[in-house]
C-alpha cells in the first residue's frame, strides 16, 4: 500500500469485522489519531511507524490501519518487535496485543522486553476474556468468571499486569479505558514518545462476552497531578495495587510510572559494514586463525 498522510487516510478499505460496540474501535481510532498527531507534531513520517499484532480480536487492527504492520502469531509479537527495533532504530514500533495473547501465551516475552528496556510500545487490549475463541477466561478475568472452559467459575485469581510490569523493569506504565477516548489517545502519544519500554494496559469493553461498561464507568477515575510521583517505584506500586483486578476498588487511569534507563538496542556497539568488508574480515580471520 501507499501511506496516506491524512488521519482519515490511515484507515484501510479492509472490511471491519469487530462486533458492534467493541472497545477495539476506540483503540483503533485513538491509535490512528495518536500516529497522525505525532507524525505532524514531531515530524515523524508515517512510514516510520510499525504496528505488530498477535492473534485475537485485537490483531485485526493490522488490517484496518494503513501503517506498516507485521501480523504475527499468538503471543509472539513482542520479540518480533524487538527484532524490528534492533534492525532500524528510526522506527516507532508499537505492539498491539491481547490479554490472552500476551499475559497467557507470551508472558515470558513481555517480561523480558521490560527487563531489557527495549524501545517499543506495548498496547494491551485487555477485555479480560478470549473473544475470537468465543468466551474463555484469561489471566485477568476475575475470580468466579464463568467462561466456556470454566462453567463453574474460575478458581484462580487474576494477575495485576501493571504490578508484573513494574517488577519486570518497565520504564513506562499506564492504563487507559476504551470509553475515555481522548485520555486514551494522550496516553498512547506519551507511551510512543517515551524512550524505552512502554506498557499501556487498556481496559477494553467486550460487547459480546464480558461487557463491563457499567462496572468500569462506576469506578474509573483519572490520576491527577500530585496524586503520585511517577518517578518513584514505591509511589507507583502503591497506586498500582489500589485495584487488583478482583476486589471492588476505584480504578485509576493514567500514567503510573515513567523513568529513563538505557535502551537495550543501543547497547550493541558493533559498527556496520557492507558485504564486501565482512567477507574480507572472514578471510582475514581464517588467515590469522589462532
Amino acid at each position: 500500500m501507499t501511506p496516506d498522510r491524512s488521519a482519515a487516510g490511515l484507515i484501510t478499505p479492509a472490511q471491519n469485522t469487530w462486533c458492534p460496540g467493541c472497545g477495539n474501535f476506540s483503540i483503533q481510532h485513538m491509535m490512528r489519531s495518536a500516529i497522525a498527531e505525532i507524525s505532524e507534531e514531531e515530524g515523524v513520517p508515517i512510514e516510520r511507524f510499525v504496528l505488530l499484532g498477535g492473534i485475537g480480536c485485537h490483531g485485526k487492527l493490522m488490517d484496518y490501519l494503513n501503517v506498516n504492520s507485521l501480523y504475527t502469531i499468538h503471543g509472539r509479537s513482542v520479540p518480533a518487535a524487538t527484532g524490528i527495533r534492533l534492525a532500524n532504530p528510526d522506527l516507532r514500533v508499537i505492539c498491539h496485543v491481547g490479554d490472552g495473547d500476551i499475559y497467557a501465551e507470551g508472558l515470558d516475552h513481555l517480561i523480558f522486553a521490560a527487563k531489557r528496556n527495549t524501545d517499543i510500545t506495548v498496547i494491551v487490549h485487555d477485555n479480560r476474556v478470549y473473544g475470537l475463541t468465543t468466551g474463555q477466561y484469561t489471566p485477568t478475568s476475575p475470580t468466579g468468571f464463568r467462561g466456556r472452559s470454566t462453567p463453574r467459575g474460575v478458581v484462580e485469581h487474576p494477575i495485576n499486569p501493571l504490578e508484573v510490569m513494574l517488577a519486570a523493569g518497565a520504564t513506562y506504565i499506564a492504563r487507559g479505558y476504551t470509553r475515555k477516548t481522548r485520555h486514551l489517545k494522550e496516553i498512547f502519544k506519551e507511551a510512543i514518545m517515551h524512550r524505552g519500554f512502554s506498557f499501556v494496559e487498556v481496559l477494553q469493553i467486550c460487547a459480546t462476552y464480558s461487557n463491563l461498561t457499567d462496572y468500569y464507568d462506576a469506578r474509573v477515575y483519572e490520576i491527577q497531578d500530585g496524586d503520585l510521583n511517577t518517578a518513584r517505584f514505591e509511589s507507583a506500586i502503591q497506586k498500582i495495587r489500589e485495584w487488583d483486578y478482583d476486589r471492588d476498588a476505584p480504578i485509576a487511569l493514567g500514567t503510573f510510572y515513567s523513568v529513563e534507563r538505557p535502551v537495550y538496542e543501543e547497547s550493541f556497539g558493533v559498527p556496520r559494514a557492507g558485504l564486501e568488508e565482512r567477507r574480507n574480515r572472514v578471510r582475514r580471520l581464517v588467515e590469522d586463525w589462532r
Partner: protein, 552 residues
C-alpha cells in the same frame, strides 16, 4: 597414507578439548591434515573427557579405533580405552594420578609444583612428552605453545613442556611435510563464517549443545566480523526476533538443536506463510527428548523436512564437513533471501564440534544471490503475484510504502483473507517459489560422488558421515554418493549419481534409516541400511567391518 592417531583423556575441567586442539595444531604446523573427535559427558567437572586426534598426509574427517599414542591424565583414560591400545601404542601417563603402568609415567603434580605452574599446564607437559615421542622438533613445540598460551603464562608453560619433553624418549619420527599449515576449525565455526560470508547481519540463539559453538564463536568475534549477536529468553523468542529483524531488512540466522527447534516450529511456519527469510542452524544430537546431550545422531532429518504446520517451501542442506558447512551456510542464507523461504542447515554433533583442517582457498566461493527488491513504480504490494512467486521486498521506513506482512492467509497487499480464490492463489504462489528454488539448485552440485567411479558397490551417506564413508569405501573398493541438498530433493541429480549402482548400502547415525526412507519416497532403492544409534560416530575400521559384512 601416512597417518597418526593420538588420544588425550582426563576429567572434565582439565582442558582436554584445548589439549586436543594443541596436538592438532602441532601436526598442522608440520603440514598434516588433522581431524579431532571430542567426546565428553554432560557435566562440568569430573567424568571422563577425551579427544582423538588423527593426522594424515591427505584430507581426512574421521577417526580410527586404535591409537599410536595415548596420553592419560587419569587412570580412567587407560581403563576406558584398553581396546585402543595395541602393541605399538605408546602410553604416556600422569604417574601422580595413575601409579605404575606400561609406558612413560610423568609425575605431573611434582612437575607443576616445582615449576610453580598452574594445574592446567599438565596438558602442556603431555604435549611436550608427545613431541619427544613423535620426534617433533622442540622449536615447533614451542611455536605451538607460543601461538596458544597468553603471554603471562608463557614462561611457565614452556618450562613444563620442557619437563615433559625431557621425561620421555623418542619412539617414532613424524616427517614434516612440504605442505601449508592449515587452520583447524570446528563445523560450528565454519558454519558461522559461512553465514557471515553470505551476508549475515545478526545471529540470534539460545544456548543448546551442540549448536552453542556457533553462538560462542560469533559472539566472541562479533566486533571482528561486524555482526550483532543476541541471546534472548528462549527459542521461540529467538526465531521471532530473527523474523522481526528480517522484516525490517536485516539478514538474520538462528541456531539450535532438536528441543529448541521444537519450540521454533511455530515461528518456522510463520516464516513460511509471511515469506520472511530466516536461516536456521539445526545441530542434531540423540533424542528423543533431552536424549544424550553431548553426543551425536542424525535422527532429525524428517523433523527438519516436515516441521511446521501447513505446506510451504523450504531449503534444507546437510553439509558433510566444514568446507561444505561454510559454503552451504552462505548459500542457504542467500537463497533464503532470494526465494523468501526458510533455510535449514542440518548438521550434527560430529560435525558441529569436530575439528578439521580448513582450506579456504581450496573451496570455490559460493555464487552470489541478491534478494528481489522493490524498484519503485506502481503501488507497493508486499505479496504481489509474479511468475516465479517471488514478490519484491521493501522494508518499513521506505518512503511512500506501507509494508504489510501477515501470518494469516492474505491477499497481495497483505490483508487477511478467507476467500477461496485468494487462499488457492496464495498456496500456488508458494508452490511456484518451490519450483523456482528447485530449478535454481539444478545449477549446483547438490549430489556428490567419491571413490571408485566404476564400482558397483555404492555407499550412500549424508552429513557428517561423508568422510568416514569415503575412507571406508577406499578400503572396500566402493564409491560414495552424498546428497548435500535434502529439500527440495534433487531428484534428477540423484538419478544420475546413483545410475549403475547394484550393491547399495545406506550409512546413517540413526535407528530407523531416515534418509533411506526419504529415498523410497522418491522411488529410489536405498539398499541395505547400516545404522549406528549409540550416540557415537562410526570409526573408519568399525564401518569397514560393517561394510564387509554386507558387500560379499
Amino acid at each position: 597414507m601416512q597417518e597418526y592417531s593420538l588420544l588425550v583423556g582426563g576429567k572434565a575441567g582439565e582442558g582436554i578439548n584445548t589439549a586436543g586442539l594443541s596436538i592438532a595444531g602441532l601436526f598442522s604446523r608440520l603440514g598434516y591434515h588433522v581431524y579431532m573427535y571430542f567426546d565428553y559427558p554432560s557435566l562440568i567437572r569430573g567424568g571422563h573427557n577425551f579427544a582423538i586426534i588423527r593426522a594424515a598426509d591427505e584430507p581426512i574427517g574421521a577417526h580410527r579405533t586404535g591409537v599410536d599414542v595415548l596420553l592419560a591424565l587419569d587412570r580412567k583414560t587407560i581403563e576406558t580405552h584398553k581396546e585402543r591400545i595395541g602393541g605399538k601404542t605408546t602410553v604416556i601417563y600422569d604417574s601422580s594420578q595413575v601409579g605404575e603402568e606400561r609406558g612413560y609415567g610423568l609425575p605431573l603434580d611434582e612437575i607443576i609444583r616445582e615449576e610453580k605452574a598452574p594445574p592446567i599446564t599438565r596438558n602442556t607437559a603431555m604435549l611436550g612428552a608427545l613431541s619427544r615421542v613423535a620426534g617433533i622438533d622442540r622449536a615447533i613445540l614451542e611455536d605451538v605453545i607460543r601461538a596458544t598460551v597468553p603471554e603471562k603464562h608463557l614462561d611457565s608453560n614452556l618450562r613444563v613442556a620442557a619437563r615433559g619433553y625431557n621425561g620421555v624418549e623418542g619412539v617414532f619420527s613424524v616427517r614434516p611435510l612440504d605442505a601449508p599449515k592449515l587452520p583447524v576449525l570446528t563445523g560450528n565455526e565454519a558454519t558461522g563464517l559461512g553465514l557471515v560470508y553470505g551476508g549475515l547481519d545478526t545471529y540470534v540463539a539460545y544456548p543448546m549443545t551442540p549448536s552453542s559453538g556457533v553462538l560462542h564463536f560469533l559472539a566472541g568475534r562479533a566486533d571482528d566480523l561486524r555482526v550483532r549477536v543476541v541471546h534472548p529468553e528462549n527459542e521461540i523468542s529467538v526465531i521471532l526476533m530473527a523474523l522481526g529483524l528480517a522484516y525490517a531488512g536485516e539478514r538474520a540466522a538462528v541456531g539450535t538443536s532438536g528441543g529448541g527447534f521444537c519450540l521454533m516450529t511455530e515461528g518456522l511456519s510463520f516464516a513460511g506463510m509471511s515469506e520472511i527469510p530466516v536461516t536456521i542452524v539445526l545441530a542434531q544430537r540423540p533424542g528423543p527428548s533431552t536424549g544424550v546431550p553431548t553426543h551425536t545422531a542424525q535422527s532429525d532429518l524428517h523433523f527438519a523436512l516436515n516441521a511446521g504446520q501447513g505446506e510451504f517451501p523450504r531449503l534444507v542442506v546437510a553439509p558433510g564437513d566444514p568446507h561444505e558447512a561454510c559454503a552451504w551456510s552462505a548459500t542457504a542464507l542467500m537463497l533464503s533471501w532470494r526465494y523468501q523461504v526458510p533455510a535449514i542447515i542440518l548438521i550434527d554433533k560430529t560435525l558441529a564440534e569436530g575439528a578439521y583442517s580448513f582450506d579456504l582457498d581450496a573451496s570455490t566461493p559460493p555464487r552470489d544471490h541478491e534478494p528481489v527488491l522493490r524498484d519503485g513504480g506502481e503501488e507497493y504490494r508486499r505479496y504481489r503475484r509474479s511468475e516465479d512467486g517471488v514478490s519484491p521486498l521493501a522494508f518499513p521506513g521506505t518512503e511512500g510504502v506501507t509494508v504489510k506482512a501477515n501470518s494469516y492467509a492474505h491477499d497481495e497487499t497483505g490483508f487477511t483473507t478467507e476467500k477461496a480464490e485468494d487462499v488457492g492463489a496464495l498456496q500456488e504462489k508458494l508452490l511456484r517459489k518451490a519450483r523456482g528454488l528447485k530449478t535454481e539448485l539444478g545449477g549446483y552440485k547438490t549430489v556428490k560422488t567419491y571413490g571408485a567411479p566404476e564400482s558397483s558397490k555404492t555407499i550412500i551417506c549424508w552429513g557428517s558421515q561423508k568422510w568416514v564413508c569415503i575412507e571406508a569405501a577406499a578400503e572396500v573398493g566402493a564409491r560414495v554418493v552424498q546428497p548435500v541438498v535434502l529439500a527440495p530433493f534433487p531428484v534428477e541429480a540423484w538419478s544420475e549419481a546413483i545410475a549403475g549402482a547394484s550393491e547399495v548400502v545406506c550409512v546413517e547415525n540413526n535407528a530407523t534409516g531416515q534418509f533411506a526412507r526419504l529415498l523410497r519416497e522418491y522411488g529410489f532403492d536405498p539398499g541395505t541400511s547400516i545404522l549406528k544409534y549409540d550416540g557415537r560416530p562410526f570409526a573408519v575400521d568399525e564401518l569397514t567391518a560393517r561394510l564387509e559384512g554386507v558387500f560379499v
